[in-house]
């Protein structure tokens, strides 16, 4: 832990240590190895160093130093991202923001809170819960992920169907630009500042436009009541049709989740089983919230829809404890795949809800053809699919097969008018798949914007966009891959 003097002759390390302090920099190989990937583990790369600034000023000074000395750098929060956005592809200096984890202020009357980027998502809700308020975006990693990371990825969660994703809850940002300049965009939370919407642009820019050092978020009052319904279907088609019917009947559920048979097998074998029947093809987890008298009617409607769609069994949670169990079972769904497969790869496509049955059939086909099982856990309400491709990395060739199958799933999503990522981001993982949804021109329009903020491309280079040199080759690869599978 405690180091006595810096045991290095690297001038960059020595200079960076002068900014953040000797205890707040890592540069030994054993320490750096822990930073060679984030939640996406297929790519790994060692950073040059990891620094832990304690203030915006320190972040700015580190950035200025990197800019001046042409050192690539990137920001990192808890490192729970699933697309590799925090992996130091170019041997970056990692600016870890976990020491900047203060809750700076809470203003209940004006419904906002100001946090530092390293503040953990769930802690915000926990610290205002006693007053009856909460912070809406609830990614499954909310126990650990930071709000700074949420801003970078524009994180979603199960309840964003009704309440929106991170970008809908960001009121202001303090940002250190790649030049080291500190800018304040509405951190007091005033809406619609004159000028292009930089808040909207920065949110979800995956750490390529600037480093967020202070965040003003909107907080919400708890709903008066909440009801949760669990419905089991013998046919996937019935389940997906029920999803459409619920939405088009005029109900806006807080959450509407679906799991298929393989996924159910996984969650039932893992840490939080709830006793779902193993022979059903699909289950829906539906939550409505709002004014108590209103949701009683909505629940009635939901039950009717389910019955109309041949539900085998449908039940309403009878207690907070039961509701909690259903949600724990769902929220730990990815990790639970460990119980039925040594490895898995999660995808994050989005489709128009109405295409659900067709897309599921095509994913099944991909599964059959690749010989890999694919479990589906998804936010059915907003069409956000998480196909989990199950594989065993120890078998030679399986990683490649899984990657190809994952990519094929995204191709299907793009084909039906959807997109390749709904909440996990592009990062390293889906760079090439960007071409499924964007033309060269559209990608160039985005890199043009990056060049305005990040002209030297020292900040988190190589993420988000396909590498231009490889495009022809990649297209050919993708084409071949498609021919193999279709």
């Amino acid at each position: 832990m405690a180091k006595k003097g810096l045991q290095t002759t690297d001038k960059d390390i020595i200079n960076l240590a002068k900014i953040v302090g000797e205890k707040e920099i890592l540069f030994k190989k054993a320490d750096l190895l822990a930073y060679d990937c984030d939640g996406f583990t297929i790519h790994k790369h060692l950073p040059k160093a990891v620094v832990f600034p304690n203030s915006t000023k320190e972040v700015a000074e580190v950035v200025k130093y990197c800019d001046l000395n042409q050192l690539p750098f990137l920001a990192r929060g808890a490192g729970t991202g699933l697309s590799g956005g925090a992996i130091p592809l170019n041997g970056e200096v990692i600016i870890s923001l976990v020491k900047m984890k203060r809750l700076l202020s809470v203003d209940l009357e004006n419904r906002r809170a100001v946090v530092e980027p390293g503040f953990v998502n769930l802690k915000l809700t926990n610290s205002i819960a006693d007053k009856g308020y909460y912070y809406a975006p609830d990614p499954s990693s909310q126990y650990a992920c930071t709000i700074g990371g949420n801003v970078a990825e524009n994180a979603g969660g199960a309840h964003c169907l009704k309440y929106g994703v991170t970008t809908n809850h960001i009121l202001g940002l303090e940002v250190v630009l790649p030049s080291g300049e500190i800018i304040d965009i509405s951190t007091n939370g005033v809406l619609d500042l004159p000028g292009y919407d930089l808040l909207g642009l920065l949110t979800g820019s995956e750490g390529t436009l600037g480093i967020v050092t202070k965040i003003t978020v909107r907080i919400l009052k708890n709903p008066e009541a909440k009801q949760t319904v669990l419905a089991y279907f013998d046919k996937v088609e019935d389940g997906s049709q029920a999803v459409s019917d619920i939405i088009s009947s005029g109900i806006v559920p807080a959450a509407l989740e679906m799991m298929d048979k393989t996924a159910i097998e996984g969650v039932e074998a893992a840490a939080f089983p709830v006793g779902h029947p193993k022979d059903i093809e699909a289950l829906l987890l539906i939550e409505v919230d709002g004014i108590s008298v209103g949701i009683t009617e909505q629940i009635k409607q939901i039950l009717e829809v389910c019955k109309k769609r041949n539900v085998r069994e449908v039940k309403v949670a009878q207690s907070e404890e039961e509701r909690g169990r259903w949600w724990a079972n769902r929220k730990t769904g990815f990790g639970a795949m460990g119980a039925i497969s040594p490895d898995y790869l999660v995808q994050d496509g989005v489709i128009p809800r109405s295409r659900l049955p067709e897309v599921l059939a095509r994913i099944n086909k991909i599964s059959e053809e690749s010989g890999l099982r694919i479990a589906n856990i998804f936010h059915a309400g907003d069409g956000n699919l998480h196909p989990l491709v199950l594989f065993d990395a120890r078998k030679s060739g399986e990683i490649e097969k899984a990657l190809a199958a994952g990519s094929e799933c995204l191709r299907v999503c793009a084909d039906v008018g959807g997109t390749i990522t709904g909440e996990h981001g592009v990062g390293i993982e889906k760079r090439e798949e960007m071409r499924f949804v964007f033309t060269e021109r559209e990608i160039a329009a985005q890199t043009d914007i990056r060049d305005v903020f990040n002209p030297k491309n020292l900040l988190n280079a190589g993420k988000l966009f396909p590498s231009p040199g490889r495009c022809v080759e990649v297209k050919k690869e993708m084409k071949n891959a498609r021919e193999t599978f279709v």
Partner: protein
Amino acid sequence: MSLRENELKGEPPCHTNSLSNYLWSDPPDEHKWADCVHCGLCLEACPTYEQTGQEQHSPRGRVHLIKSVAEGKLVVDDDFADPVFVCLDCRACTTACPADVDVGGLIEEARGQVRQAMPLKGWKGMTSKFLLEGLFPHQSRLHSLGSLLAFYQKSGLQKVVRKTGLINMMPKHLVEMEAIMPAIGIPVQKKYKEQKVIKAKGETKREVAMLTGCIMDIMFSDINQSTINVLTKNGNDVSIPKNQTCCGALHVHAGDREMGRKLAKQNIEAFKDAEKVITNAAGCGCMLKEYPELFREEPEWHEKAEEFAQKVEDISKYLYDTGYEKPKVELNTRITYHDACHLAHGQGVREQPRDLLINIPGVEMVHMPNADRCCGSAGVYNITNPEMAGAVLESKMKNVPEDVEMISMGNPGCMLQMAVGVEKYGRNQKIVHTVQLLDWAYQKEENERGNNGEKGFAND
């Protein structure tokens, strides 16, 4: 995963990967890290990550490093040893992990490699060697130490040392420890030396054997006494096998797995005839249950250890499961409960001790936020890593409710550490073991019956 079990029953794992830099026997188990998908849900559960914010001091970071050595990316050296030994081994990550990755097991195995690669030197080495090899495994030496400590306290020497400032010559964290040293009583091992079985009061319903523990029986012999009292009160014949020894937890935590195995074998033999092995120290209980981990390369002992582990039970869980007599008189007190890591995370025992406590009439239980957060004791961690232990303790003490009279828990290490906390932060709570409160309630009941309603019980 069933895969792991199958392989365990077959051949011992061997190095298929020639790149591995684990060059000694009993290396970290590949299957344990294969389950980790690096999701990071463990981060916030980890007290050392909370303090440092650094990945290498987080559960998944440590797992990643342990795996990196096996992949040949890293060697077993000081830089690797640092994160592996800064771990409190509190197992909070195991609770948080959706895939049930056994981080604690990996850490202990990795420590075994480190200690084989680099035997301890210097002050740390001496302390560690003295405590782990010279003292804990030897009952007679422990008993002498106990007598010495008792003399130290009773003779007034303690006062002299404190007053004269002699104490200032001790390292700061040892001063803190000294300040809270419990009054030393007679070890139950000594007291019941002549009795083969301590008979149940009234009808015998079950027979149990008790692990007295090494430190427990010296520093906290009254807790062992209370344990015997509540067991016999509830119809258990209690035996205290003579050949039992230290559980080995401290050795295994420190990476001395060889010594751990030696002690494990002795205990497995000592308790061969017992049907139930009762412990009142969470750390010991957890270790006993994990003996099979020590014998991954010795199938014969592995089987014995599995059998033995099945018999081990924490006192609170045992009483809860077999049923116990609920006290009838009131102990009017406000308490809070601290989950010992090796009880909550290690053995999944959370509700049972709370149940025991709230069923004592007049006991008001106040919720402690983050009750299952490590206190920083972690075996001898507070002696080997005082700085980190102090920071973890500070964070723990912030969660202790102001308005309680006692903090109850089920582990002696925690009791010492929490007592340091109470002393250091000017708090006034009494630190008690769960069975002590239950025992006091029974005693008060008996006194009242004996004295015909007259108050005969003193809280302290």
